[in-house]
Amino acid sequence: MCGIVGLFLKDKSLEPQLGSLLTDMLITMTDRGPDSAGIAIYGSETTGNAKLTIQSDSPDTAFAGLDATLSTALGTPVTLSVKDTHAVLDLPFDKLDQARAALPGIDPSLRVMSRGETLEIYKEVGLPKNVADRFDIRQMSGTHGIGHTRMATESAVTTMGAHPFNTGLDQCLVHNGSLSNHNSLRRKLRRDGVHIETENDTEVGAAYLTWQMQNGATLGEALESALDDLDGFFTFVVGTKDGFGVVRDPIACKPAVMAETEQYVAFGSEYRALVNLPGIEDARVWEPEPATVYFWSHTTPPTAQEKAA
């Protein structure tokens, strides 16, 4: 069992409250996943710049002087803002791949949580409330975000086993369920040169989507083919720079509730997660259909075939 929450804002006036609304939704889902939590938040964008969110188990030493070291290595200014075990590196977009390649040489213990123009991913082991407090999620503003509370069934309770998983530039995946063919799929993807770090089933799902998109699929197409290639139970929520998508396996045992108003589209594993959203009393509330890919996006019209990134 795990909990998923998602909030996509249509009304710009709610953007300063995104972190606060998502934090409350996430904490409500603690019963479904008390062992670790994570949040992907799509915040502000500086034209020409990219964000690289990194993590370290010893942030005091790992992050000290990292901006200067990386700046020298890349030959361009880099800014670093530390939040607990995570830090966001802000650097020119065209230096992003170079920075990713340079980081292991600077400190092999650094882990990349996410990369993109607006996306930042924060995740750690612990109760959702504590995780949200550590990163001060409540204060964050943004256009949309996805949260996850984990109750591990398939692999160890670790930072890297927590969700969301970064699947590409400004893209992420969270999962409620369990994949049963992840071992064979992991072997297949690794043979194709895909980097998979843990024994976690969802990481394989994320790597699968990345692999599909590297081979030319849109996110919508990758999700459609996931319905054929992934065996097991899943409700997936995927974040993109423009919005988010939802897909459930054909059996659809794993719960999902959506709510839409003029101000937002919200996702919750349970209706409980949505009850304190503004105007929820008058929202259209429904369950997404099994084996159907949904997208909500700031760019119109949203379709499953849309090139999401």
Partner: protein
Amino acid sequence: MQEFDLEAEGLRALNSALHAQNNDTNQTAWEILNPKGSHAIAVGLDAPIDVTVKGSTGYYCGGMNQQANIHVAGSVGPGVAENMMSGTVVIDGDASQYAGATGHGGTLVIKGNASSRCGISMKGIDIIVHGNVGHMSAFMAQSGNLVVCGDAGDALGDSIYEARLFVRGSVKSLGADCIEKEMRPEHLAILADLLDRGGVDADPSEFKRYGSARKLYNFNIDNAY
């Protein structure tokens, strides 16, 4: 009228108060405020009382009900009226998966749509859905009646025993051993009564009846892998 603020007083206090009622109680009408999607509201009741839930609920609302009339003025999460024995549960909105699962008796009315596995393993309950039902509804249904005024999803009545299924709209597909059956006068009479109890204004002749082909009752070597 007993008014109970669930958010203020908590679930355990609510269900304890409802369980304390017996056949002779004078507190026959209860109103539950601020359900806010909470789980296990009004489960295990066994008294002839009327309970109204003012809002939407989470998992297992009205589970194991006996005698009570439970009315939810909202939608319900998974497993509403699961294993109900008697009484009535009426949902104004939609119901999530496995509504009325394993129910032995009583009446469950869903005025909106029900999602997947509605009436799974039903054992005598009557379920009347004003809207549609999702896939695998009435899976392994053993007895009772499921009335669907809208459409049914994939694999309706898979591995069904002796329950009766009445559907007015389309059936996406029938499950293993479920077939369309002749609607005889006695079925029309049964359905008319069910529609009346479910508050549905519909002509029984618009419905089709589905049930078991009874081919799975005995072992058939051709079904073995």
